[in-house]
């Protein structure tokens, strides 16, 4: 298993946001997480690289228990890419520097080699001509594609996407989804929190429906979208589809 989650609980103060999540995600699997806002789906994703501290339960990434206090979390994170809703590019660094910072500082790769490795990534996300510009001059869709390239530069084993298209103008969503589709085809293990039901249906190997801090239902997309069993799932899908 690439990712195993066992009885994961997460509270913010007295509010319990995750109320016992169990999940297994296999290598090369693309899992989409859907659900209403406030259902805990982003929190769940952020627990997978410990951006949120876990209250109780266990999270295993390639067999490493993240909740073990002795774990080198920085090393694990270098294997788990993360793409954020608001891109979080480094505004004081050029596109190329955004991409090469991780390889240079975390992996100790020489600057020249890191830059050479970054160029094919920029090509992959369709932004070869933007290497030397600063993020502020990019559109939202371009920023998000740079953010994906930045994560890929670490050669991650898993990619986490936290509502990657939610902050984008509708006409810019397509390019980002294309890049994600290509990644899925190449066999990247992906967990995608999304409101893009079309993407979940087309690209997802499995869809998790979350509500009120638990996984209410999970299935292959055809079944979950075509024939949902849980009344909450039915209600949610009737609103968004």
């Amino acid at each position: 298993m690439m990712i195993s989650v066992r009885d994961l609980h997460k509270s913010f103060g007295s509010v319990e946001v995750l109320k016992g999540i169990d999940a297994e995600i296999k290598e090369q699997e693309v899992v989409c997480v859907i659900g209403p806002s406030g259902s805990g789906k982003s929190t769940f994703l952020r627990c997978l690289n410990l951006l949120e501290e876990v209250t109780s339960g266990e999270v295993y990434i390639e067999g490493d228990n993240l909740t073990d206090p002795k774990i080198n979390i920085n090393e694990v994170r270098s294997r788990v890419g993360m793409v954020f809703q608001h891109f979080n590019l480094f505004p004081h660094r050029t596109v190329l520097e955004n991409i090469t910072l991780g390889p240079i500082k975390v992996k100790g790769i020489k600057k020249k080699d890191a830059e050479e490795a970054a160029l094919p990534l920029l090509e992959k996300v369709g932004l070869s001509d933007k290497a030397d510009v600063y993020p502020e001059s990019l559109s939202g869709g371009q920023k998000q594609r740079v953010a994906i390239a930045r994560s890929l530069a670490m050669e991650p084993r898993i990619m986490l996407f936290d509502e990657p298209t939610s902050a984008l103008d509708p006409e810019l969503v397509g390019d980002v989804l294309e890049v994600m589709k290509d990644l899925a085809k190449e066999g990247m293990t992906m967990v995608v929190v999304t409101h893009e039901m079309g993407f979940a249906r087309e690209v997802g190997d499995r869809v998790l429906f979350m509500d009120e801090g638990v996984i209410m239902e999970e299935d292959v997309p055809e079944n979950l979208f075509g024939n949902p069993q849980n009344p909450r799932t039915q209600e949610f899908l009737s609103k968004v589809l």
Binding site: N49, L51, N74, E75, R77, S78, V80, G81, M82, F84, H86, N88, L89, F90, P91, H92, L101, G102, K105, V106, A147, R150, S151, M154
Partner: protein, 218 residues
């Protein structure tokens, strides 16, 4: 030309230039140490460790809650008395500026670091950077840019504060002006020139800072 060279406005200048050198030296060296103190205590104020946070808060509040004139007298007379040694006037002045500005700069540093979007930290950590690397390569460079206008403002404030050191007879700008009119009774001329000398430094600084601020806004 004689009416110029013989006027008090002209004759006071050599003394004022000497005073200005000391004013700039005390301000400059004091602020270098003040920035170091400010960075240390600014980060301490961001610390989750209650003791570190508490100590830094006490420092900031004590300094900000007492007049700098009391602080310089405390350092120059009070500490000398306590330790039974004479502290050099210039050294005492530099220490006073450093400690005083350090408290204000600590708040500038804390505010600037705190103002950087949390997503920047998360993005850094998520590619595997350590906490320190994230601070050094991502948060600090962005925070430092935001510190430039308030630091420039602090420079102007500290520069003017050095005039208070005339009370312990430090030969800074205002003191030199006082010396001149003490001997010549030309108080109006001497103090006019003293003020012009301050303005020659402070006004261009303020103009420059406004320009930097506008650029950072964009």
């Amino acid at each position: 030309m004689d009416f110029i060279t013989e006027s008090h406005y002209y004759r006071v200048m050599p003394m004022l230039f000497e005073g200005l050198v000391w004013t700039l030296l005390i301000t400059g060296v004091g602020l270098i140490f003040g920035f170091i103190l400010g960075a240390i205590f600014g980060f301490a104020r961001l610390s989750k460790n209650k003791l570190i946070y508490g100590l830094a808060t006490v420092y900031v509040e004590v300094v900000r809650g007492t007049p700098i004139l009391a602080q310089i007298l405390f350092i120059y007379f009070g500490l000398s008395d306590l330790m039974g040694v004479n502290i050099d006037k210039i050294t005492a002045s530099i220490i006073a500026i450093a400690i005083n500005a350090g408290a204000y700069i600590a708040e500038i540093v804390r505010g600037a670091v705190y103002s950087i979007d949390k997503g920047q930290d998360e993005a850094g950590r998520s590619i595997g950077l350590t906490r320190n690397q994230t601070m050094r390569y991502i948060i600090w460079p962005q925070a430092f840019r935001r510190m430039i206008p308030p630091l420039g403002n602090q420079f102007v404030i500290s520069l003017k504060d050095t005039s208070l050191f005339s009370v312990i007879a430090v030969g800074e700008l205002l003191y030199m002006g006082q010396q001149y009119y003490g001997a010549t009774f030309a108080a109006f001329e001497a103090l006019t020139m003293v003020c012009i000398m301050y303005l020659v430094i402070t006004v261009p600084t303020a103009v420059y800072l406004r320009r930097v601020e506008r650029r950072l806004d964009v």
